[in-house]
Symmetry: C2
Subunit: 209 residues, 2 copies
Amino acid sequence: MKFYDCTTAPSPRRVRIFLAEKGISVPTVQVDLRNNEQLTPAFRAINPDATVPSLELDGGTRINDAIGICVYFEAIHPQPPLLGESAEEKALVTSWQREVERNGFYAVMEAFRNWARGLKGRALPGPYDYEQIPALAERGRLRVGHFFEQMDARLAQSEFVAGARYTIADITALVTVDFAASAKLTIPESHAHLRRWHAQVSARPSAKA
Amino acid sequence: MKFYDCTTAPSPRRVRIFLAEKGISVPTVQVDLRNNEQLTPAFRAINPDATVPSLELDGGTRINDAIGICVYFEAIHPQPPLLGESAEEKALVTSWQREVERNGFYAVMEAFRNWARGLKGRALPGPYDYEQIPALAERGRLRVGHFFEQMDARLAQSEFVAGARYTIADITALVTVDFAASAKLTIPESHAHLRRWHAQVSARPSAKA
């Protein structure tokens, strides 16, 4: 088994935290995104979508998506459960993970990739080049503010994002909040619930992954 | 149990097709998106994210996401499996569903919502108003073209999107292709594999859902 990673990128960090929570370690290869190694023919033979993370299984199958990789490890190593146990919990964890990703993670990606100098002409990950759209960076910043508000309201009612225990929804939210900080978007002082949660999940040893 | 639906919207159609494949029927309430019923206080008490679909369980829990709802029904009604059976298949189905959603469904959404007259000031679903960005409509159209190419290459190698059988990845891809047609983006004649697959999945009775 081989895990294609990049320590500075937010998507593979989701998997690293997930594995740390499960106590699993996997042989890892670093992909040099800074020098566009993901766009080389050698890496595109591994993942035609030209993104990390990717997981190569012993039989040769490749799983080219962070959540897909987590689904694999949850199935072969169910403890501790991070995707929910009952039908209802699984559904809620999936929904919250996706809501955080849609309203948070992708919003930060809009703000960051349409603004960062080093990403001119690379406003989206993947094999195709797209120009930055300044209005989209601006919209991304607005959306991240709304995401912080929504999360603060949710975490006023709930210890963790999807309910009473730590799950993959918290992992996506933590990676999103830390990724936002790299685009200079930080949680407002007034959002006490979101700040309480962020301190709590950041204190887990897995957050260092 | 109660399913909040809108027959003209692509997201809830994903669930309708999924339920049709499983042979499940659920009491359904139509939400009038054309008149912004999703933004009313009554509906936002059901789903604060102001989107359909939503599924209300008998205990009162609400699942506010199309894939989250499918995860629920897969758990309580596993046959036929639409999310994969082995660890490896589950991971591949999840990855392909997400790749189609990211590169296809969201690209069509960009193209459509930043262009349709009736969606001025509503370029994203959800509780917040965002102005249309014409450059984003244009980028969305480019991306849909790339998505068609990627899918044609994939379906040259594989009978269905995620492998040898019909799964939720096909459902997302079918809804995406049909949604694209509503933004006047149709599969080029040259993409014979994608056209073969589209004819095949459209002929299933579930496609009428």
